[in-house]
Symmetry: C2
Subunit: 520 residues, 2 copies
């Protein structure tokens, strides 16, 4: 046991309780050297040392957010958002903007999605413009699935939509594809896309060049030091927040307050360090236990998805900083309590003991609904949380219990900052670079090969005209090696007969137990 | 390697490919006896043997759904839904219903949520009544969080809302609380709740009695044999689907077709058996690898959450059927591809090799958007899926690849049926009861204790009037043993000062490093 299992910010009411975890003062003492070394490295991060050596990048989100509200950029975003909300800035046909399409993926989407759901809630897009005080409804394209575009179009009127493309490099293909799709859609509708288009991107990037060349209405610069999964408290989080009426300064102040608390060197008094040390002890420094995130709050449902990226993309690494193969990782999943108690909590209670749960309790109820005998609806939420914590602990399962007064901007900022610091500190404890993502690059390369093959196959289809056969037979004819990829491309073409110029169809042969492709 | 790694339903185009998994014919042969025994047990399930012996319940969803469309109940649901959509059945003030509030948790919510998102899509609630053909918008209360009620109220007009409470026993506290909340809200609005209220519940249940006594407009019976997490193809899935214009008969026909395919005894030809056998081999029959579900489809985003319940609540068990302590389980998580490639795929590629991924590809694009050179937006989705599969396999990570033509009712039904069968079969392989949830009962008991304590604390507050002190001091005064629960209850009260009759407040003492509670 720890001598002090509970850390509390008495002013905000934010608390974190480790009494349900098997970690002791002795554990911390035995990690003493490691903790001190990691704290020293955290200092270097804040001092602006190049910590992401693979990308030659400083990691400055911990310090940048304190200065950000005083910057000209901050003021510019706020002015722009106010002018959009008031109708001073209008779309190409002179109509007031009513909706925002946020076009971005990964860190450009997950943070804004978390903040929107937590602060504006799931009904935001169905409120009247008056109830939204003129601020925008918000939709996301965060993939290269045309179903996402089609669904956004069902809710959007292009004439009153602002399209915000967010990409640091501008090379992110999914974001690029959606941008191209909306450029076409606006052109098809006879609307001037440039008057509906804004960007958040690094100066000089592909997207920066493209948006400048096309005279987009607004381009916000993204500093080189901002990393995708730690971008929520920077311009990436700010622009969508401001356009949807979220008080971003409060998100920052909540984060900055947490930064102050999580800068102290004594791990026993530092909630981020204690969190990271607890992960370390629980998972033997190798992620042997999954992190199950269960906020007892409907509004915090997207938290686990946000943390999946922040934690797993940061920690899931093949090599440590010394080049040793370590295959690190820390799995994250969960939805919300008490709901998950009727889903996967059966396994946590009775099944594999391969996790630790993190409960996040929110004390303030949104409504005072009495169920009976002075017991309110929200008391049951508390009762279920406390009851599950008891049940899990009685089975020897481990639980971290956080609590906060309410889901507001400050506390969302605090949660983000807490986990950002814990992840960075944990990475130091296991000696990995938390700030790069080489595995994503590997995947991008593999995907580019498929896309290149796709162009190659497209170019060979005329030669195959009139042919019919299995994918293997056609691949041989066309001189293509990668059969699986080749068949995938043919299948994709065959199942989209509506495409202009489509040449491929297919039918299943029960005799050959294979697809027969026909090229016209 | 398997001699045949790919199973295909040539007519529907549904396929499943195991070439990315480390499973061989030899593995299947060595499991021969186990597979045959499990197949025999599956036969008993279908023959109506009481397989859930703990609850003395038959498990009949595999066979019931074939007969269901011909039943009087099916016709009754369809008639009711048509009458609501046409405006023949109206609310208490004579207005046509426009929205459905589905009040249910666990299996009563997750299946309907999956179907809604997959078939009607995320923009459904924002479509005009005309575009919805008079069918209802849909909202969910699936917790006991008043924030969920408050958010639903922002989008609902009580006068045109139908409230559907779904609970087999009627004893599910969360669903009961939301029912009470809406009863009050309707009363406060001067509206006759009974004319807005319907139920799906077992005859004779608490909810059945309550709804009959109060003259609710419609009560649909839920057969005793229906289990929560396998209820989507029964009345639980049908009523919300029908009220929102989803063609439920097609969901059933897709499921029934898959049932036919997954009834064959030869595991090498049975996609559900092969799926289960693959899980078994990959996780050493103990769930040593997490199941990562990545549908390459925006519309299938809720799939992993649905499967979390279906798999983890079924498989996560403490004892096997012979009473041995086994602590079984099979973790499930994931969101959607290609998006997750920008989130946690870094870890899958480079980090812990503790998972197998399941990709679900959807060939048909919702729109034909050409990006350039004859390459369409949807080709990138395919390219990213195939590229990630290649990247993962080059690192020795395991992948199952499913594919289907489109996300429609039949394929959603097929997916549900496939996983239901695979889970039941896997449970037979590891000799556990897949159909009970004793761990949830344990949690419910623990929670009831907290709620009981809450009433006790409430009753003692008058005695404590005028007292101030730490939770420990007040607990001693009040003679309460469970300090953690006692403090939680005080904290909950203190942080909800708006509650009528609230007597508790608190302040943090930096000196005592503890909260000081004051009772008035």
């Amino acid at each position: 046991m720890l001598s002090n299992t509970r850390l509390v910010d008495g002013e905000t009411g934010f608390s974190i309780d480790f009494s349900g975890m098997r970690i002791s003062d002795a554990d911390l003492d035995s990690m003493g050297g490691k903790l001190a070394a990691a704290h020293e490295e955290m200092g270097k991060i804040e001092a602006g040392e190049v910590k992401n050596i693979d990308e030659g990048r400083k990691v400055t989100h911990f310090s940048d957010r304190a200065a950000y509200p005083g910057s000209e950029l901050f003021a510019d975003v706020e002015r722009f958002a106010q002018a959009v909300a008031s109708g001073e800035i209008k779309g190409s046909t002179g109509k007031k903007f009513d909706a925002l399409l946020l076009n971005g993926i990964g860190g450009s989407a997950l943070g804004p999605q978390l903040v929107q759901f937590a602060i504006n809630g799931p009904a935001w897009n169905e409120l009247s413009s008056e109830k939204r005080k003129g601020f925008l409804r918000i939709y996301f394209t965060d993939n290269t699935d045309t179903a996402g575009v089609a669904d956004a179009l069902k809710a959007l009127d292009l004439e009153t939509t602002l399209v915000l493309s967010v990409s640091k490099s501008g090379g992110t293909q999914e974001t690029k594809n959606n941008m191209i799709a909306f450029e076409k859609l606006y052109a098809d509708a006879g609307l001037d896309f440039a008057k509906h288009a804004c960007a958040v991107t690094m100066e000089g990037s592909q997207l920066d060049q493209h948006s400048r060349a096309n005279g987009w209405m607004k381009i916000f610069p993204m500093a080189e030091s901002i990393g995708g999964r730690t971008s929520e408290t920077a311009i990436v989080g700010h622009v969508p927040a401001a356009l949807t009426g979220v008080d971003f300064a409060k998100i920052l102040s909540g984060a900055v307050r947490m930064d102050g608390w999580t800068r102290v060197s004594d791990a026993k008094k530092n909630p981020a360090y204690l969190l990271a040390a607890t992960w370390y002890v629980a998972g033997n420094g190798k992620g042997d236990r999954n992190m199950v995130i269960v906020p007892y709050s409907d509004r915090l449902l997207p938290m686990s998805r946000y943390l999946q990226q922040l934690v797993m993309e940061s920690i899931g690494k093949e090599t440590d900083r010394d080049g040793n193969i370590v295959h690190q990782g820390l799995n994250v999943f969960g939805n919300k309590g008490g709901t998950d108690a009727h889903a996967f909590i059966q396994q946590l209670n009775d099944g594999r003991d391969d996790f630790f749960a993190t409960f996040i309790e929110v004390y303030k109820d949104a409504m005072d609904i009495e169920i009976g005998d002075g017991v309110f609806m929200g008391d049951y939420l508390h009762g279920f949380q406390a009851g599950l914590a008891d049940a899990l602990q009685s089975k020897g399962r481990q639980v971290i219990q956080m609590a906060m007064r309410t889901v507001d901007e400050e506390n969302v900022g605090a949660l983000i900052a807490l986990y950002e610091r814990a992840v960075a500190f944990y990475a130091e404890l296991i000696n990995i670079n938390a700030f790069h993502q080489p595995g994503v690059e590997a995947y991008k390369k593999a995907s580019k090969k498929i896309i290149a093959l796709l162009s190659e196959v497209n170019s060979k289809l005329p030669e195959l005209a009139g042919s019919a056969g299995t994918a293997a037979e056609l691949a041989e004819k066309a001189g293509v090696d990668n059969l699986a990829a080749f068949e995938g491309i043919l299948a994709k073409a065959a199942e989209n007969p509506s495409r202009p110029g489509n040449r491929v169809s297919r039918e299943w042969s029960e005799g050959k137990k294979d697809w027969i492709y026909t090229v016209i």
